[in-house]
Amino acid sequence: MPEVRVPVVVWGGGTGGIAAALQSARQGVQTLLLTPGPWLGGMVSAAGVCCPDGNELSPWQTGLWGAFLRELARCEPDGLDHNWVSCFGYQPATAETILRRWLAEQPALSWWPGCRLREVRRQGDRLTGLVIERGGERLQVQLQMAIDGSDRGELIALSGTACRYGWESQEQWGEPSAPAAERLLADPFFRRQPVQSPTWVAIGVLGRTDHCPAAGQPLPAPFALAAEPFGLERTITYGRLPGDRVMLNWPLHGNDWHDDLERAFCGDPKAEAELFAQMQAHSLAFGRALQEASDGWLQLDGLFPQPDSAAGGALRGPSPLALMPYWREGRRLVGLSTLVEQQLLPLKPGASIAPLPLRNGHVDAVVVGNYANDHHYPGPDWPLAAKSCAWGGRWTGTPFCIPTALWSAPTPPTCWRPTRDSAPVIWPMGPPACNRRSSMWARPLAWQRPSASSGAAQPPICRCWCCSSS
């Protein structure tokens, strides 16, 4: 098998993965960025969520994020003020072009799109290599450090690194917005919705008139209530982009996808492909419903290249569908400490910042975030502890700090999941990749504890949704 040696390998090319790869390369370290798809950017380009609504205020516009916003403003001829969810609306290709240029400017950085993770190599508890597939060929990448910047934590899963996934009870961390353990186990909702609902963004184009000419035809099921809170025109222009395009990413009876999401985490490519096809069809159906209700004011429109031409370098094309889904939740690395909701909420009532992370008397912060908590699930709004404040004529989230102590712990990898008795299960080698597609999607969540006879190194029997117990 061909082999390459690179000190730092980053898996995943969203903003987090790109930031890690850029900063590594800028220190002069040879760095290899691997992405499964043909584009970079994740949420901010390939997934089509081109109106980000976090870290908007000028004190939080620092670092690569601030540089990215200012470059967007410079490159979009009609500016960034186009919608009501964000102060930054732009076309996907604009963001993708900027990110590709930034990568190309770093001589120590290489980007390989279209890769598949196949295996990991390890010595003891350290990752020493990856086996990837690229262009139909397998090759081994020897490394000193691997960084998982992917949306769902695919390298975490493959390597068996300690991670968490899905719901955790209020009793576990004391988080005020978390469900109680009893409810978590008793209510089937939490088994049906193991993670927040993702969206496959679709793109539309608006007609020449400034306003929707239709009084608002009723939307068909399952979108019948989508326009109820804000009206049809506001629903459509929520994520308006330059060039009269609109991003369809509407959470209220819109194109969030809620069903059988475990298929994205069970390691079965066929199940994942089926899920993705359903998500895409759902978003296109939502677009067509809006098209009809608006008497054609909105039309589904091509903005993205088809995956094949995207792989050939195309930045624009005839597809209304983004190149990848927008995931709101993935696996969570188990680090030296765990960031919990209390660290994101105001220090006390009336305060405008969250508690500063302190370690040995020093502030341990490296990044500021401020996103206002919201959850995407079917049904009514999930009740959340208050986090936002009125500022500058709008609502904005209380800023909080990310501490360095979150970084991966040098402890034996474990994977925790809630169980029937609410106690965490220690999964010595991480969750197994489920390679048995079955019709067991609706099975209750349960992971058996390792038996005394199985030994700590043996994975217990998996009884998750994806695995047959037979």
């Binding site: 516009q61 690569l64 410079r74 009501w84 102060c87 305060a351 405008s352 502030v363 004529g393």
Partner: protein, 152 residues
């Protein structure tokens, strides 16, 4: 202080702030000094993310920016009109009659991403004003960044 924090703050291409300083936009001339000072003495940061007024007055952290100072942006323009406070507590700008971009019938709601402008708007009464910003008809709002020259 961590070496990493210092490197983030002193990054020549994309300086990154580890701490939430509500009074310090990215373009503040003393941005680095303020981030470093707050890291050295986190107790000096109050519950509103503000550094001590005395240290800002004496100069080592620089004064807070005036409302007529912000980074210029592509596409921005001057908006002249009458400032109003509406019943919902929002500030609006009714453009001068005949001006382009009249906007909503009851005036443009104003928003800002700049701390100095936020404080200025919170204290402003009603009256004539000239502001620099960009219109967003789909907000709908005017995103204003600073007072126009001669307004302060």
């Amino acid at each position: 202080m961590l070496v990493l924090q210092q490197q983030l703050i002193h990054d020549p291409q994309a300086p990154a702030g580890p701490l939430p300083l509500w009074d310090t936009p990215w373009h503040h001339p003393a941005w680095r000094q303020r981030q470093l000072a707050a890291l050295m003495d986190p107790g000096s940061l109050d519950q509103h993310g503000q550094l001590p007024a005395a240290r800002k007055r004496t100069g080592d952290l620089g004064p807070d920016l005036a409302a007529d100072i912000a980074a210029p942006e592509p596409g921005e323009r001057v908006w002249s009109g009458w400032l109003q406070q509406n019943a919902a507590g929002r500030t609006t700008l009714r453009p001068q009659s005949g001006a382009s971009g009249d906007g909503p019938a009851d005036g443009w709601p104003l928003i800002t991403l700049e701390p100095a402008m936020h404080h200025w708007l919170a204290a402003a009464g009603e009256g004539p004003v000239r502001l620099v910003g960009s219109a967003n008809p789909w907000g709908p709002w005017l995103r204003v960044s600073r007072l126009a020259e001669g307004q302060a």
